[in-house]
Protein backbone atom coordinates (compact mmCIF):
# COMPACT_ATOMS: atom_id res chain seq x y z
CA UNK A 1 0.00 0.00 0.00
CA UNK A 2 1.50 3.14 -1.04
CA UNK A 3 1.34 6.10 1.25
CA UNK A 4 2.78 8.54 -1.11
CA UNK A 5 0.48 11.17 -2.30
CA UNK A 6 0.67 12.82 -5.59
CA UNK A 7 2.16 16.22 -5.09
CA UNK A 8 -0.11 19.00 -6.00
CA UNK A 9 1.33 21.05 -8.77
CA UNK A 10 2.38 24.39 -7.34
CA UNK A 11 -0.13 27.03 -8.11
CA UNK A 12 1.38 29.33 -10.65
CA UNK A 13 0.92 32.82 -9.39
CA UNK A 14 1.20 35.00 -12.38
CA UNK A 15 3.01 38.16 -11.46
CA UNK A 16 1.66 41.50 -12.61
CA UNK A 17 3.52 43.06 -15.51
CA UNK A 18 4.16 46.30 -13.68
CA UNK A 19 3.85 45.44 -10.00
CA UNK A 20 5.88 47.06 -7.29
CA UNK A 21 8.70 44.57 -7.77
CA UNK A 22 8.86 45.24 -11.48
CA UNK A 23 8.91 48.98 -11.05
CA UNK A 24 11.76 48.60 -8.59
CA UNK A 25 13.77 46.88 -11.32
CA UNK A 26 13.62 50.05 -13.34
CA UNK A 27 13.84 52.66 -10.61
CA UNK A 28 16.62 51.14 -8.50
CA UNK A 29 19.41 51.50 -11.07
CA UNK A 30 18.41 55.13 -11.57
CA UNK A 31 19.36 56.06 -8.04
CA UNK A 32 20.45 53.81 -5.18
CA UNK A 33 21.93 51.09 -7.36
CA UNK A 34 23.23 53.13 -10.25
CA UNK A 35 25.68 51.19 -12.43
CA UNK A 36 28.12 54.11 -12.80
CA UNK A 37 27.96 56.05 -9.55
CA UNK A 38 27.32 53.21 -7.13
CA UNK A 39 28.61 50.04 -8.74
CA UNK A 40 31.30 52.03 -10.57
CA UNK A 41 30.98 50.02 -13.78
CA UNK A 42 31.26 51.23 -17.35
CA UNK A 43 33.53 54.10 -16.33
CA UNK A 44 35.78 53.79 -19.39
CA UNK A 45 33.04 54.56 -21.88
CA UNK A 46 31.59 57.21 -19.60
CA UNK A 47 34.93 59.03 -19.73
CA UNK A 48 35.32 58.59 -23.46
CA UNK A 49 32.00 59.53 -25.02
CA UNK A 50 30.83 62.40 -22.85
CA UNK A 51 32.66 65.32 -24.45
CA UNK A 52 29.42 66.28 -26.18
CA UNK A 53 25.82 65.39 -25.56
CA UNK A 54 24.96 64.00 -28.99
CA UNK A 55 27.40 61.09 -29.02
CA UNK A 56 26.58 60.44 -25.37
CA UNK A 57 22.90 60.13 -26.23
CA UNK A 58 23.63 57.69 -29.07
CA UNK A 59 25.91 55.69 -26.83
CA UNK A 60 23.19 55.51 -24.18
CA UNK A 61 20.66 54.34 -26.76
CA UNK A 62 23.09 51.77 -28.13
CA UNK A 63 23.80 50.39 -24.67
CA UNK A 64 20.09 50.27 -23.90
CA UNK A 65 19.36 48.21 -27.03
CA UNK A 66 22.27 45.84 -26.46
CA UNK A 67 21.64 45.39 -22.75
CA UNK A 68 17.90 44.84 -23.05
CA UNK A 69 18.18 42.39 -25.94
CA UNK A 70 21.06 40.41 -24.48
CA UNK A 71 19.33 40.26 -21.12
CA UNK A 72 16.23 38.90 -22.85
CA UNK A 73 18.03 36.28 -24.92
CA UNK A 74 20.34 35.10 -22.16
CA UNK A 75 17.35 34.83 -19.86
CA UNK A 76 15.55 32.71 -22.45
CA UNK A 77 18.58 30.44 -22.76
CA UNK A 78 19.55 30.47 -19.09
CA UNK A 79 18.53 26.86 -18.48
CA UNK A 80 20.34 25.37 -21.44
CA UNK A 81 23.66 27.21 -21.19
CA UNK A 82 26.32 24.94 -19.64
CA UNK A 83 27.73 26.98 -16.80
CA UNK A 84 31.34 26.28 -17.81
CA UNK A 85 31.00 28.08 -21.12
CA UNK A 86 28.45 30.68 -20.12
CA UNK A 87 30.79 33.65 -20.50
CA UNK A 88 31.53 32.70 -24.09
CA UNK A 89 27.86 32.25 -24.87
CA UNK A 90 27.11 35.62 -23.28
CA UNK A 91 29.86 37.27 -25.30
CA UNK A 92 28.53 35.83 -28.55
CA UNK A 93 25.03 37.13 -27.82
CA UNK A 94 26.32 40.55 -26.80
CA UNK A 95 28.61 40.87 -29.81
CA UNK A 96 25.76 40.04 -32.13
CA UNK A 97 23.73 42.97 -30.87
CA UNK A 98 26.73 45.26 -30.74
CA UNK A 99 27.45 44.57 -34.40
CA UNK A 100 23.82 45.31 -35.19
CA UNK A 101 24.00 48.64 -33.35
CA UNK A 102 27.28 49.49 -35.02
CA UNK A 103 25.90 48.80 -38.48
CA UNK A 104 22.73 50.78 -37.79
CA UNK A 105 24.74 53.78 -36.57
CA UNK A 106 26.99 53.57 -39.61
CA UNK A 107 23.99 53.48 -41.92
CA UNK A 108 21.80 56.14 -40.36
CA UNK A 109 24.04 58.29 -38.19
CA UNK A 110 27.41 58.17 -39.86
CA UNK A 111 28.83 61.34 -38.29
CA UNK A 112 28.02 60.20 -34.78
CA UNK A 113 29.33 56.74 -35.46
CA UNK A 114 32.61 58.27 -36.58
CA UNK A 115 32.81 60.27 -33.36
CA UNK A 116 32.04 57.27 -31.22
CA UNK A 117 34.53 55.26 -33.29
CA UNK A 118 35.74 52.24 -31.40
CA UNK A 119 33.55 52.81 -28.37
CA UNK A 120 30.48 51.30 -29.98
CA UNK A 121 32.39 48.08 -30.50
CA UNK A 122 33.72 48.30 -26.99
CA UNK A 123 30.18 47.95 -25.65
CA UNK A 124 31.01 44.24 -25.85
CA UNK A 125 33.42 44.64 -22.99
CA UNK A 126 31.26 47.09 -21.04
CA UNK A 127 31.19 45.75 -17.49
CA UNK A 128 27.59 46.80 -16.98
CA UNK A 129 26.40 44.39 -19.66
CA UNK A 130 28.38 41.38 -18.51
CA UNK A 131 27.51 42.29 -14.95
CA UNK A 132 23.78 42.31 -15.55
CA UNK A 133 23.89 39.10 -17.58
CA UNK A 134 25.75 37.29 -14.84
CA UNK A 135 23.95 38.84 -11.91
CA UNK A 136 20.43 38.99 -13.24
CA UNK A 137 19.58 37.42 -16.58
CA UNK A 138 21.17 34.06 -15.74
CA UNK A 139 18.78 33.65 -12.84
CA UNK A 140 15.59 35.41 -13.80
CA UNK A 141 12.72 35.11 -16.20
CA UNK A 142 12.67 37.01 -19.48
CA UNK A 143 10.24 39.79 -18.52
CA UNK A 144 12.05 40.90 -15.36
CA UNK A 145 15.30 40.62 -17.32
CA UNK A 146 14.01 43.02 -19.94
CA UNK A 147 12.99 45.47 -17.24
CA UNK A 148 16.34 45.09 -15.53
CA UNK A 149 18.09 45.79 -18.81
CA UNK A 150 16.05 48.90 -19.47
CA UNK A 151 16.52 50.11 -15.91
CA UNK A 152 20.27 49.72 -15.88
CA UNK A 153 20.65 51.23 -19.32
CA UNK A 154 18.58 54.20 -18.16
CA UNK A 155 20.73 54.57 -15.07
CA UNK A 156 23.85 54.46 -17.24
CA UNK A 157 22.36 56.82 -19.81
CA UNK A 158 21.20 59.32 -17.20
CA UNK A 159 24.68 59.72 -15.76
CA UNK A 160 26.14 59.88 -19.25
CA UNK A 161 23.81 62.71 -20.17
CA UNK A 162 24.45 64.64 -16.95
CA UNK A 163 28.21 64.36 -17.39
CA UNK A 164 28.02 65.21 -21.09
CA UNK A 165 25.83 68.24 -20.35
CA UNK A 166 28.31 69.64 -17.82
CA UNK A 167 31.30 68.91 -20.03
CA UNK A 168 29.78 70.31 -23.21
CA UNK A 169 28.47 73.50 -21.65
CA UNK A 170 31.71 74.23 -19.79
CA UNK A 171 34.08 72.86 -22.41
CA UNK A 172 32.55 74.25 -25.60
CA UNK A 173 29.76 76.50 -24.31
CA UNK A 174 27.06 74.58 -26.17
CA UNK A 175 24.20 72.13 -25.66
CA UNK A 176 23.75 69.48 -28.36
CA UNK A 177 26.05 71.57 -30.52
CA UNK A 178 23.92 74.69 -30.03
CA UNK A 179 26.19 77.55 -29.00
CA UNK A 180 24.26 78.82 -25.98
CA UNK A 181 26.64 81.51 -24.81
CA UNK A 182 27.22 82.92 -28.28
CA UNK A 183 23.47 83.18 -28.83
CA UNK A 184 23.17 85.07 -25.57
CA UNK A 185 25.89 87.40 -26.76
CA UNK A 186 28.43 86.28 -24.18
CA UNK A 187 31.95 85.68 -25.38
CA UNK A 188 32.65 82.35 -23.72
CA UNK A 189 36.14 80.87 -23.50
CA UNK A 190 35.92 77.09 -23.58
CA UNK A 191 37.48 75.29 -20.65
CA UNK A 192 40.05 72.89 -22.08
CA UNK A 193 40.11 70.64 -19.04
CA UNK A 194 36.47 69.68 -19.59
CA UNK A 195 37.26 68.51 -23.11
CA UNK A 196 40.04 66.24 -21.87
CA UNK A 197 39.15 62.88 -20.29
CA UNK A 198 40.35 64.21 -16.95
CA UNK A 199 37.38 66.58 -17.02
CA UNK A 200 35.01 63.61 -17.21
CA UNK A 201 36.85 61.98 -14.35
CA UNK A 202 36.35 65.06 -12.18
CA UNK A 203 32.72 65.55 -13.17
CA UNK A 204 31.83 61.90 -12.50
CA UNK A 205 33.57 62.18 -9.16
CA UNK A 206 31.48 65.23 -8.30
CA UNK A 207 28.28 63.45 -9.37
CA UNK A 208 29.18 60.52 -7.14
CA UNK A 209 29.93 62.96 -4.32
CA UNK A 210 26.55 64.65 -4.73
CA UNK A 211 24.70 61.35 -4.86
CA UNK A 212 26.43 59.95 -1.80
CA UNK A 213 25.87 63.15 0.11
CA UNK A 214 22.14 62.74 -0.59
CA UNK A 215 21.76 58.98 -0.10
CA UNK A 216 24.29 58.48 2.63
CA UNK A 217 27.20 56.15 2.15
CA UNK A 218 29.18 53.88 4.44
CA UNK A 219 32.56 52.58 3.41
CA UNK A 220 32.47 48.80 3.58
CA UNK A 221 35.20 47.60 5.88
Amino acid sequence: MSTSTIEKPAVKVSEPLFGKKQRKLISNPLDGDNPITVQVLGICSALAVTVQMKPALFMALGVMFVLTMSNLFISLMRNIIPSRVRIIVQLVVVSTFVILVDQIFKAYAYEVSKELSVFVNLIVTNCIIMGRLEAFAMGNKPWPSILDGIGNALGYGAILMVVAFIREILGSGSIFGFKVFNELGINYTGNGVMVLPVGASIVIGLVIWAQRARNGYKEEA
Binding site: N191, G192, V193, M194, L196, V198, G205
Partner: protein, 380 residues
Protein backbone atom coordinates in the same frame (compact mmCIF):
# COMPACT_ATOMS: atom_id res chain seq x y z
CA UNK B 1 45.93 98.29 21.19
CA UNK B 2 46.89 94.70 21.83
CA UNK B 3 45.28 94.77 25.24
CA UNK B 4 42.18 96.36 23.81
CA UNK B 5 41.79 93.69 21.14
CA UNK B 6 42.30 90.93 23.63
CA UNK B 7 39.66 92.35 25.95
CA UNK B 8 37.15 92.71 23.13
CA UNK B 9 37.78 89.13 22.04
CA UNK B 10 37.28 87.87 25.57
CA UNK B 11 34.04 89.82 25.92
CA UNK B 12 32.78 88.38 22.64
CA UNK B 13 33.84 84.81 23.44
CA UNK B 14 30.68 83.64 25.30
CA UNK B 15 28.54 84.75 22.38
CA UNK B 16 30.26 82.23 20.14
CA UNK B 17 30.47 79.33 22.55
CA UNK B 18 27.94 76.54 22.82
CA UNK B 19 24.58 78.00 23.65
CA UNK B 20 25.69 81.51 22.75
CA UNK B 21 23.95 83.80 20.34
CA UNK B 22 26.30 83.18 17.42
CA UNK B 23 27.11 79.55 18.15
CA UNK B 24 27.02 78.74 14.42
CA UNK B 25 29.75 81.25 13.69
CA UNK B 26 32.13 79.74 16.22
CA UNK B 27 34.66 78.70 13.58
CA UNK B 28 34.82 82.25 12.26
CA UNK B 29 35.43 83.62 15.73
CA UNK B 30 38.01 80.97 16.43
CA UNK B 31 39.72 81.74 13.13
CA UNK B 32 40.12 85.42 13.95
CA UNK B 33 41.00 84.93 17.59
CA UNK B 34 43.80 82.48 16.86
CA UNK B 35 44.97 84.66 14.01
CA UNK B 36 45.52 87.56 16.35
CA UNK B 37 46.79 85.74 19.42
CA UNK B 38 48.56 82.49 20.14
CA UNK B 39 45.78 80.15 21.23
CA UNK B 40 45.68 79.29 24.92
CA UNK B 41 44.86 75.62 24.48
CA UNK B 42 46.42 73.23 26.93
CA UNK B 43 46.41 69.47 26.82
CA UNK B 44 43.84 67.72 28.99
CA UNK B 45 45.36 64.33 29.71
CA UNK B 46 48.82 62.96 30.22
CA UNK B 47 52.05 64.71 29.48
CA UNK B 48 52.34 66.19 26.02
CA UNK B 49 54.66 68.78 24.72
CA UNK B 50 52.77 71.36 22.81
CA UNK B 51 54.75 73.66 20.59
CA UNK B 52 53.69 77.27 20.78
CA UNK B 53 54.04 77.59 17.03
CA UNK B 54 50.81 76.43 15.43
CA UNK B 55 49.77 76.07 11.83
CA UNK B 56 48.90 79.74 11.51
CA UNK B 57 52.33 80.88 12.58
CA UNK B 58 54.02 78.28 10.39
CA UNK B 59 52.04 79.47 7.42
CA UNK B 60 52.75 83.07 8.22
CA UNK B 61 56.47 82.46 8.21
CA UNK B 62 56.15 81.07 4.70
CA UNK B 63 54.17 84.15 3.67
CA UNK B 64 56.93 86.39 5.04
CA UNK B 65 59.54 84.42 3.14
CA UNK B 66 57.51 85.00 -0.02
CA UNK B 67 57.41 88.76 0.39
CA UNK B 68 60.79 89.48 -1.26
CA UNK B 69 59.77 87.52 -4.34
CA UNK B 70 56.38 89.24 -4.39
CA UNK B 71 57.81 92.76 -4.10
CA UNK B 72 60.42 92.06 -6.75
CA UNK B 73 57.74 90.49 -8.94
CA UNK B 74 55.60 93.61 -8.69
CA UNK B 75 58.50 95.82 -9.69
CA UNK B 76 59.54 93.47 -12.49
CA UNK B 77 56.05 93.50 -14.02
CA UNK B 78 56.29 97.28 -14.26
CA UNK B 79 59.90 97.20 -15.44
CA UNK B 80 59.16 94.70 -18.21
CA UNK B 81 56.14 96.70 -19.31
CA UNK B 82 57.99 100.00 -19.65
CA UNK B 83 60.90 98.23 -21.31
CA UNK B 84 58.53 96.69 -23.84
CA UNK B 85 56.84 99.97 -24.76
CA UNK B 86 60.25 101.61 -24.94
CA UNK B 87 59.68 104.29 -22.30
CA UNK B 88 61.98 105.30 -19.52
CA UNK B 89 60.19 105.21 -16.22
CA UNK B 90 61.11 106.02 -12.68
CA UNK B 91 61.39 103.21 -10.13
CA UNK B 92 58.22 104.37 -8.41
CA UNK B 93 56.24 104.35 -11.68
CA UNK B 94 57.40 100.85 -12.46
CA UNK B 95 56.40 99.73 -9.00
CA UNK B 96 53.01 101.43 -9.20
CA UNK B 97 52.27 99.94 -12.59
CA UNK B 98 53.23 96.51 -11.30
CA UNK B 99 51.06 96.95 -8.23
CA UNK B 100 48.05 97.73 -10.38
CA UNK B 101 48.66 94.55 -12.36
CA UNK B 102 49.52 92.20 -9.50
CA UNK B 103 47.45 93.30 -6.51
CA UNK B 104 44.05 92.60 -8.11
CA UNK B 105 45.21 89.03 -8.83
CA UNK B 106 46.33 88.68 -5.21
CA UNK B 107 43.05 90.05 -3.88
CA UNK B 108 40.95 87.78 -6.08
CA UNK B 109 42.98 84.75 -5.14
CA UNK B 110 42.60 85.43 -1.41
CA UNK B 111 38.95 86.44 -1.60
CA UNK B 112 37.85 83.37 -3.55
CA UNK B 113 40.02 80.92 -1.69
CA UNK B 114 39.27 82.16 1.82
CA UNK B 115 35.59 82.49 0.96
CA UNK B 116 35.43 78.81 0.01
CA UNK B 117 37.52 77.77 3.02
CA UNK B 118 35.22 79.69 5.39
CA UNK B 119 32.14 78.22 3.76
CA UNK B 120 33.44 74.66 4.09
CA UNK B 121 34.55 75.20 7.68
CA UNK B 122 31.12 76.54 8.61
CA UNK B 123 29.33 73.77 6.77
CA UNK B 124 31.37 70.99 8.30
CA UNK B 125 31.65 72.54 11.73
CA UNK B 126 35.45 72.50 11.53
CA UNK B 127 37.80 75.17 12.72
CA UNK B 128 38.88 77.45 9.91
CA UNK B 129 42.13 76.23 8.51
CA UNK B 130 44.87 78.57 7.64
CA UNK B 131 46.24 76.42 4.85
CA UNK B 132 45.09 78.92 2.30
CA UNK B 133 47.22 81.74 3.70
CA UNK B 134 50.17 80.40 1.73
CA UNK B 135 48.29 79.08 -1.31
CA UNK B 136 46.61 82.45 -1.68
CA UNK B 137 49.92 84.20 -2.25
CA UNK B 138 51.55 81.33 -4.15
CA UNK B 139 48.82 81.24 -6.79
CA UNK B 140 49.38 84.84 -8.02
CA UNK B 141 53.15 84.38 -7.94
CA UNK B 142 53.10 81.47 -10.39
CA UNK B 143 50.69 83.04 -12.87
CA UNK B 144 51.61 85.34 -15.75
CA UNK B 145 50.90 89.02 -14.98
CA UNK B 146 48.30 89.15 -17.75
CA UNK B 147 46.05 86.41 -16.37
CA UNK B 148 42.41 87.60 -16.45
CA UNK B 149 40.95 87.90 -12.96
CA UNK B 150 38.05 85.53 -13.63
CA UNK B 151 40.59 82.85 -14.54
CA UNK B 152 42.37 83.42 -11.24
CA UNK B 153 39.03 82.98 -9.51
CA UNK B 154 38.16 79.79 -11.41
CA UNK B 155 41.60 78.27 -10.86
CA UNK B 156 41.61 79.12 -7.16
CA UNK B 157 38.12 77.71 -6.67
CA UNK B 158 39.14 74.52 -8.45
CA UNK B 159 42.28 74.15 -6.38
CA UNK B 160 40.52 74.68 -3.07
CA UNK B 161 37.49 72.48 -3.81
CA UNK B 162 38.87 69.69 -5.98
CA UNK B 163 42.49 69.88 -4.88
CA UNK B 164 41.90 70.16 -1.16
CA UNK B 165 38.42 70.10 0.34
CA UNK B 166 37.44 66.93 -1.51
CA UNK B 167 40.23 65.12 0.32
CA UNK B 168 39.22 66.55 3.68
CA UNK B 169 40.82 69.99 3.79
CA UNK B 170 44.19 71.32 4.86
CA UNK B 171 46.73 68.59 5.46
CA UNK B 172 44.83 65.92 3.56
CA UNK B 173 45.55 66.99 -0.01
CA UNK B 174 47.58 64.79 -2.33
CA UNK B 175 48.76 67.63 -4.54
CA UNK B 176 50.09 71.07 -3.86
CA UNK B 177 46.98 73.31 -4.08
CA UNK B 178 48.72 76.25 -5.74
CA UNK B 179 50.11 74.01 -8.45
CA UNK B 180 46.70 72.38 -8.82
CA UNK B 181 45.32 75.83 -9.63
CA UNK B 182 48.06 76.42 -12.15
CA UNK B 183 47.85 73.04 -13.84
CA UNK B 184 44.08 73.43 -14.14
CA UNK B 185 44.43 76.82 -15.80
CA UNK B 186 47.31 75.56 -17.95
CA UNK B 187 45.18 72.84 -19.48
CA UNK B 188 41.87 74.72 -19.40
CA UNK B 189 43.10 77.95 -20.98
CA UNK B 190 46.47 77.22 -22.57
CA UNK B 191 46.42 80.46 -24.55
CA UNK B 192 46.48 82.52 -21.35
CA UNK B 193 49.11 80.48 -19.54
CA UNK B 194 51.73 79.78 -22.19
CA UNK B 195 53.14 81.25 -25.36
CA UNK B 196 55.09 84.42 -25.96
CA UNK B 197 52.49 87.12 -25.36
CA UNK B 198 51.33 86.57 -21.80
CA UNK B 199 54.47 87.29 -19.80
CA UNK B 200 54.59 91.08 -20.19
CA UNK B 201 51.63 93.28 -19.28
CA UNK B 202 50.32 95.40 -22.18
CA UNK B 203 53.07 94.43 -24.57
CA UNK B 204 53.22 95.98 -28.05
CA UNK B 205 53.00 93.30 -30.74
CA UNK B 206 56.39 94.04 -32.19
CA UNK B 207 58.24 93.41 -28.93
CA UNK B 208 59.25 89.82 -28.36
CA UNK B 209 57.94 88.60 -25.04
CA UNK B 210 59.45 85.15 -25.26
CA UNK B 211 60.82 83.77 -22.04
CA UNK B 212 64.32 82.32 -21.83
CA UNK B 213 62.82 78.84 -21.79
CA UNK B 214 60.84 79.49 -24.96
CA UNK B 215 63.96 80.82 -26.66
CA UNK B 216 65.98 77.85 -25.52
CA UNK B 217 63.33 75.40 -26.70
CA UNK B 218 63.19 77.11 -30.07
CA UNK B 219 66.96 76.86 -30.39
CA UNK B 220 67.19 80.67 -30.49
CA UNK B 221 69.69 82.74 -28.50
CA UNK B 222 68.52 82.97 -24.88
CA UNK B 223 68.18 86.74 -25.03
CA UNK B 224 69.18 87.28 -21.40
CA UNK B 225 72.37 86.67 -19.47
CA UNK B 226 72.85 84.38 -16.50
CA UNK B 227 73.03 87.41 -14.23
CA UNK B 228 69.74 88.80 -15.62
CA UNK B 229 68.07 85.51 -14.85
CA UNK B 230 69.62 85.27 -11.39
CA UNK B 231 68.53 88.79 -10.47
CA UNK B 232 65.19 88.23 -12.14
CA UNK B 233 64.95 91.03 -14.72
CA UNK B 234 63.43 88.65 -17.28
CA UNK B 235 59.84 88.06 -18.40
CA UNK B 236 58.02 85.25 -16.64
CA UNK B 237 55.38 84.47 -14.06
CA UNK B 238 55.03 87.19 -11.44
CA UNK B 239 57.09 85.77 -8.62
CA UNK B 240 59.29 83.18 -10.27
CA UNK B 241 61.84 85.31 -12.08
CA UNK B 242 64.25 86.39 -9.38
CA UNK B 243 66.37 83.54 -8.09
CA UNK B 244 68.06 85.98 -5.70
CA UNK B 245 64.81 86.95 -3.96
CA UNK B 246 63.76 83.32 -3.83
CA UNK B 247 67.04 82.45 -2.14
CA UNK B 248 66.36 85.12 0.48
CA UNK B 249 63.04 83.38 1.09
CA UNK B 250 64.85 80.06 1.25
CA UNK B 251 67.17 81.42 3.94
CA UNK B 252 64.16 82.54 6.02
CA UNK B 253 62.57 79.10 5.64
CA UNK B 254 65.86 77.42 6.51
CA UNK B 255 66.60 79.64 9.52
CA UNK B 256 63.15 79.08 11.02
CA UNK B 257 63.30 75.38 10.26
CA UNK B 258 60.01 75.49 8.39
CA UNK B 259 61.10 74.48 4.90
CA UNK B 260 63.07 71.29 4.39
CA UNK B 261 66.58 72.18 3.23
CA UNK B 262 67.06 68.58 2.15
CA UNK B 263 64.33 68.93 -0.46
CA UNK B 264 65.57 72.31 -1.69
CA UNK B 265 69.18 71.19 -2.03
CA UNK B 266 68.30 67.89 -3.67
CA UNK B 267 66.01 69.53 -6.23
CA UNK B 268 68.81 71.86 -7.25
CA UNK B 269 71.29 68.99 -7.25
CA UNK B 270 69.01 66.80 -9.36
CA UNK B 271 68.42 69.56 -11.90
CA UNK B 272 72.09 70.43 -12.13
CA UNK B 273 73.12 66.78 -12.48
CA UNK B 274 70.60 66.19 -15.27
CA UNK B 275 71.75 69.41 -16.95
CA UNK B 276 75.35 68.15 -16.89
CA UNK B 277 74.25 64.81 -18.31
CA UNK B 278 72.43 66.64 -21.10
CA UNK B 279 75.60 68.62 -21.84
CA UNK B 280 77.51 65.37 -22.26
CA UNK B 281 74.95 63.96 -24.69
CA UNK B 282 74.24 67.26 -26.40
CA UNK B 283 75.67 66.90 -29.90
CA UNK B 284 74.27 69.75 -32.00
CA UNK B 285 71.14 70.30 -29.89
CA UNK B 286 71.58 73.81 -28.51
CA UNK B 287 69.08 73.37 -25.65
CA UNK B 288 70.88 70.25 -24.43
CA UNK B 289 74.16 72.08 -24.71
CA UNK B 290 72.94 74.98 -22.55
CA UNK B 291 75.19 75.15 -19.47
CA UNK B 292 73.64 73.17 -16.62
CA UNK B 293 73.59 76.03 -14.12
CA UNK B 294 71.29 78.01 -16.42
CA UNK B 295 68.55 75.50 -15.75
CA UNK B 296 68.58 76.45 -12.08
CA UNK B 297 67.84 80.13 -12.61
CA UNK B 298 65.48 80.25 -15.58
CA UNK B 299 61.76 79.54 -15.52
CA UNK B 300 60.18 78.43 -12.31
CA UNK B 301 62.95 76.12 -11.18
CA UNK B 302 64.11 78.03 -8.10
CA UNK B 303 60.61 79.02 -7.08
CA UNK B 304 59.35 75.47 -7.38
CA UNK B 305 62.32 74.05 -5.50
CA UNK B 306 62.04 76.44 -2.57
CA UNK B 307 58.31 77.04 -2.17
CA UNK B 308 56.46 74.26 -3.97
CA UNK B 309 58.46 71.08 -3.57
CA UNK B 310 58.88 71.75 0.16
CA UNK B 311 55.13 71.86 0.86
CA UNK B 312 55.10 69.63 3.97
CA UNK B 313 51.73 68.11 3.13
CA UNK B 314 52.37 66.86 -0.37
CA UNK B 315 56.12 66.17 -0.13
CA UNK B 316 57.74 62.96 1.08
CA UNK B 317 57.79 62.73 4.87
CA UNK B 318 60.76 60.47 5.55
CA UNK B 319 64.19 62.08 5.69
CA UNK B 320 65.79 59.76 3.15
CA UNK B 321 62.65 59.87 1.06
CA UNK B 322 62.92 63.66 0.83
CA UNK B 323 66.27 63.40 -0.90
CA UNK B 324 65.02 60.95 -3.51
CA UNK B 325 61.87 63.02 -3.94
CA UNK B 326 63.86 66.21 -4.49
CA UNK B 327 66.42 64.71 -6.84
CA UNK B 328 63.71 63.19 -9.00
CA UNK B 329 61.90 66.54 -9.23
CA UNK B 330 65.08 68.20 -10.47
CA UNK B 331 65.88 65.44 -12.94
CA UNK B 332 62.33 65.27 -14.31
CA UNK B 333 62.08 69.05 -14.66
CA UNK B 334 65.12 69.26 -16.89
CA UNK B 335 64.02 66.20 -18.86
CA UNK B 336 60.57 67.66 -19.52
CA UNK B 337 62.04 71.04 -20.44
CA UNK B 338 64.52 69.71 -22.93
CA UNK B 339 62.93 66.61 -24.36
CA UNK B 340 59.21 67.32 -24.30
CA UNK B 341 58.33 69.93 -26.91
CA UNK B 342 54.74 70.22 -25.63
CA UNK B 343 55.68 71.81 -22.30
CA UNK B 344 58.34 74.51 -22.25
CA UNK B 345 58.47 74.43 -18.45
CA UNK B 346 58.71 71.17 -16.54
CA UNK B 347 58.74 72.28 -12.91
CA UNK B 348 54.98 72.18 -12.40
CA UNK B 349 54.57 68.74 -13.96
CA UNK B 350 57.58 67.31 -12.16
CA UNK B 351 56.44 68.47 -8.73
CA UNK B 352 52.87 67.28 -9.24
CA UNK B 353 54.08 63.89 -10.46
CA UNK B 354 56.39 63.49 -7.48
CA UNK B 355 53.57 64.64 -5.14
CA UNK B 356 51.69 61.61 -6.35
CA UNK B 357 54.71 59.39 -5.82
CA UNK B 358 55.62 60.77 -2.40
CA UNK B 359 53.60 58.21 -0.40
CA UNK B 360 55.20 55.41 -2.41
CA UNK B 361 58.68 56.79 -1.73
CA UNK B 362 57.86 56.96 1.97
CA UNK B 363 56.56 53.40 1.92
CA UNK B 364 59.74 51.99 0.43
CA UNK B 365 61.94 54.12 2.67
CA UNK B 366 60.22 52.70 5.72
CA UNK B 367 60.32 49.14 4.36
CA UNK B 368 64.04 49.47 3.66
CA UNK B 369 64.60 50.75 7.16
CA UNK B 370 62.71 47.80 8.62
CA UNK B 371 64.82 45.38 6.61
CA UNK B 372 68.02 47.05 7.74
CA UNK B 373 67.02 46.86 11.37
CA UNK B 374 65.89 43.26 11.09
CA UNK B 375 69.17 42.15 9.54
CA UNK B 376 71.02 43.95 12.31
CA UNK B 377 68.94 42.11 14.86
CA UNK B 378 69.84 38.79 13.25
CA UNK B 379 73.55 39.43 13.47
CA UNK B 380 73.48 39.88 17.22
Amino acid sequence: MKQFLKEKLEIARPLFEKGGKFEKLHSVYDGFATFLFVPGHTTHTGAHIRDGIDLKRTMFTVVISLVPALLFGIWNVGYQHFLAIGEKAAFIDQFLYGSLAVLPILVVSYAVGLGIEFAFAQFRGHAINEGFLVSGILIPLILPPTTPLWMVAVGTAFAVIIGKEVFGGTGMNLLNPALTARVFLFFAYPAALSGDIVWIADKPDAYSGATMLANAAAGAPLGYSFLDAFLGIIPGSIGETSTLMILIGAIILFATGIGSWKIMVSVFAGGWFMGLLMNLLAGDNSFMAMPAHYHLVIGGFAFGAVFMATDPVSAAQTERGKILYGVLIGVLTVMIRVWNPAYPEGMMMAILLMNVFAPLIDYFTIEANKKRRLSRAKNI
